[in-house]
């Protein structure tokens, strides 16, 4: 049993730069938690504080039911996989795997069993006698995972472990790590994972839950589906999803059916939107619509925005249209078979945001006011 909890954890550096602003996070036993955010959001710092590689300047970190603030990394019951693997360059693979156990004076036969077991799982048996410099990136990666696995830690920490691999290998390692986590969970061994990445694809595909961070604050913690469909604020809305969500200033009329105005164009919506609106500081809001949720409608359709296509990216199964509506740039994704080059003749297009997938943010607080 090892849940991980962070309470009011702070990190202030010597130069009084506050990197982490009192964050609270609960990771359940067996959960695969992904920390994601742009560079500089302190996700790695947070992970390193959990590991004990960075001191925390305030707050408390618990693993299971013990407070680990006071403990050196080796006593925290964690294992970590580093971005650049951090294999010991002078040790053969088998010694890299067993170093942690040897330090703890684990009996020899137990170490041997551990090495055999782990190298079997990760298919690195034939690499055991090699030095790290004789390994390819993918092999080194597996050894690094093995080094974590062999210690049977309560919590696994991954610090952008796939970012040094090429795209193909990254995809297969993604699957491998998720499978490994499932296996561990089924074997009901310790399997709590905290996984740091800047790549939202990794975050969305691997995480049971995802913690989105920005500038040392947690912006939202939720499972992938919730995160995608119900972003709590503008940042999460913009960060998750590709291409990025369109975030455009609009004026909201609340009297009767809600209506949104961009420049001189107004589109009216129905009950679905009306029912989920909550209070805001004003009526000048930010509309958030994902490019996939801007629907192209026939030219004669009422109640839609009209704009001009400025640029097209044809990618086969889908097409990105860059559209100008009253001076605001929209990205629109349409299925490839809806695309017809003749659309470009005059460039005119009419677009209707899908009501159920439309978000409104209060520009003052950046909070989503359409989640009620």
């Amino acid at each position: 049993m090892a849940n991980l909890s962070l309470r009011s954890v702070e990190k202030v550096y010597g130069n009084s730069f506050k990197a982490v602003h009192g964050i609270d996070l609960e990771v359940k036993d067996g959960e695969f938690m992904v920390l994601v955010g742009p560079s500089g959001c302190a996700k790695s710092t947070t992970l390193r504080m959990i590991a004990g590689l960075e001191t925390i300047t305030g707050g408390e970190i618990r693993i299971g039911d013990k407070v680990v603030n006071n403990l050196v990394p080796g006593d925290r019951g964690i294992a970590m996989v580093f971005q650049n693997y951090a294999l010991y360059p002078h040790m053969k693979v088998k010694n890299n795997l067993s170093f942690g156990l040897r330090i703890k004076r684990t009996p020899k036969d137990e170490i041997a069993r551990g090495v055999e077991n782990v190298s079997g799982i990760l298919e690195i048996e034939e690499l055991l006698e090699r030095l790290p410099k004789q390994l390819s990136g993918g092999q080194a990666q597996r050894v690094a995972v093995g080094r974590a696995l062999i210690k049977q830690p309560e919590v696994f920490l991954f610090d952008e472990p796939l970012s040094n691999l090429d795209a193909k290998l990254r995809a297969s390692m993604r699957v491998r790590i998720t499978d490994l986590h499932k296996q561990l969970k089924q074997a009901s061994t310790s399997s709590t994972v905290v996984y740091v990445t800047h790549d939202q694809t990794e975050a969305m595909t691997m995480g049971d839950r995802i913690c989105v961070m920005k500038d040392g604050h947690i912006m939202q913690v939720a499972d992938p589906v919730t995160l995608y469909n119900r972003p709590e604020n503008e940042f999460v809305a913009g960060f998750i999803g590709s291409p990025e969500m369109n975030l455009i200033p609009v004026a909201l009329q609340r009297n009767g059916a809600p209506a949104l105005t961009i420049g001189s164009q107004t589109v009216t919506f129905g009950n679905q939107l009306a029912s989920r609106l909550s209070a805001s500081t004003g009526d000048d809001l930010t509309m958030g619509v994902r490019p996939q949720h801007m629907q192209m409608v026939p030219p004669e359709t009422d109640n839609a925005f009209s704009g001009t296509i400025s640029h097209v990216e044809f990618m086969g199964h889908e097409v990105n249209l860059y559209v100008d509506i009253e001076g605001h740039k929209f990205t629109v994704v349409i299925p490839g078979d809806h695309y017809n080059p003749s659309m470009l003749a005059d460039g005119a297009i009419r677009l209707a945001p899908r009501e159920s997938q439309l978000h409104l943010f209060d520009p003052k607080t950046s909070q989503n006011i359409s989640l009620a």
């Binding site: 080796g74 970590m80 580093f82 971005q83 010991y88 360059p89 002078h90 170093f99 330090i103």
Partner: protein, 296 residues
Amino acid sequence: MGGEKQWVGLAYVAPYVIGLLVFTAIPFGASFYLSFTDYPLLSAPIWVGLQNYIELIFHDRTFHRALQVTMTYVFITVPLKLTFALAIAYVLNYKLKFIGFFRTAYYVPSILGGSVAIAVLWRYIFADIGLVNMIITGLGFEAINFFGDPRYALFTITLLRVWQFGSAMVIFLAALQSIPAHVYEAAAIDGANKAQTFFFITLPLITPVIFFNLILQMVEAFQEFNGPFIITDGTGAPLRSTYLVPLYIYDKAFRQFDMGYASAIAWILFAIIMVLTLIAFWSSRHWVYYAGDKRS
């Protein structure tokens, strides 16, 4: 650079090739030849076969004493100097302010150490009434006759060399700094304490540099001349307790002009250095980690 005619490269290294032949290769061979001759400089060398070596190995008491002193000197100086250099480099290898200042301060003796002025200074420091004895007597102890007592005389010239640990330290420091932080972090995660990290991670990773320093310092120490020569006026006093082999070679060659015999001494010294270097190289594959080529 591709496509060049081969003589272009040769033209650039020509000065070296000439220098190598004239000032190193030919003298090297000549020295070997001379070591089998009797050559009092004024007349032509006369071939005497192994006579010089037989004399040196079986009869020359002065040589035996000099060799014994030299060995003692090298085997005390080199490990002491390297240990000091590594220890200070280790202390310096932290994110401390003024690292640059301390590194500079520790490096100064290496810059000046080989000079006559420092050897002169050493005489004054360890003189009967010198700096060290002033401090010793000031603390209420009895003054030590450093240059009069064979037990201490070698110690003073040993100290002179150990004092110059700065250059080895700078090399160690650069090596320590080149160990990536994440390797230490991985060790911390694996539960290694400070001592374990030092002995299992740090030390193995800098073995190439330890090896390099070891060879360099050993070769240098075997050839030490300035310090003892100036401190003892070339006598190696007291009782030849600081009379290193290079001093003996100098006396034989340039005071007594016994060039053949001096060459033979040089060759014995060379052979000893060679054997120790080869032992070091041979043993290195058991203890030196080579970061070199990818894939074996």
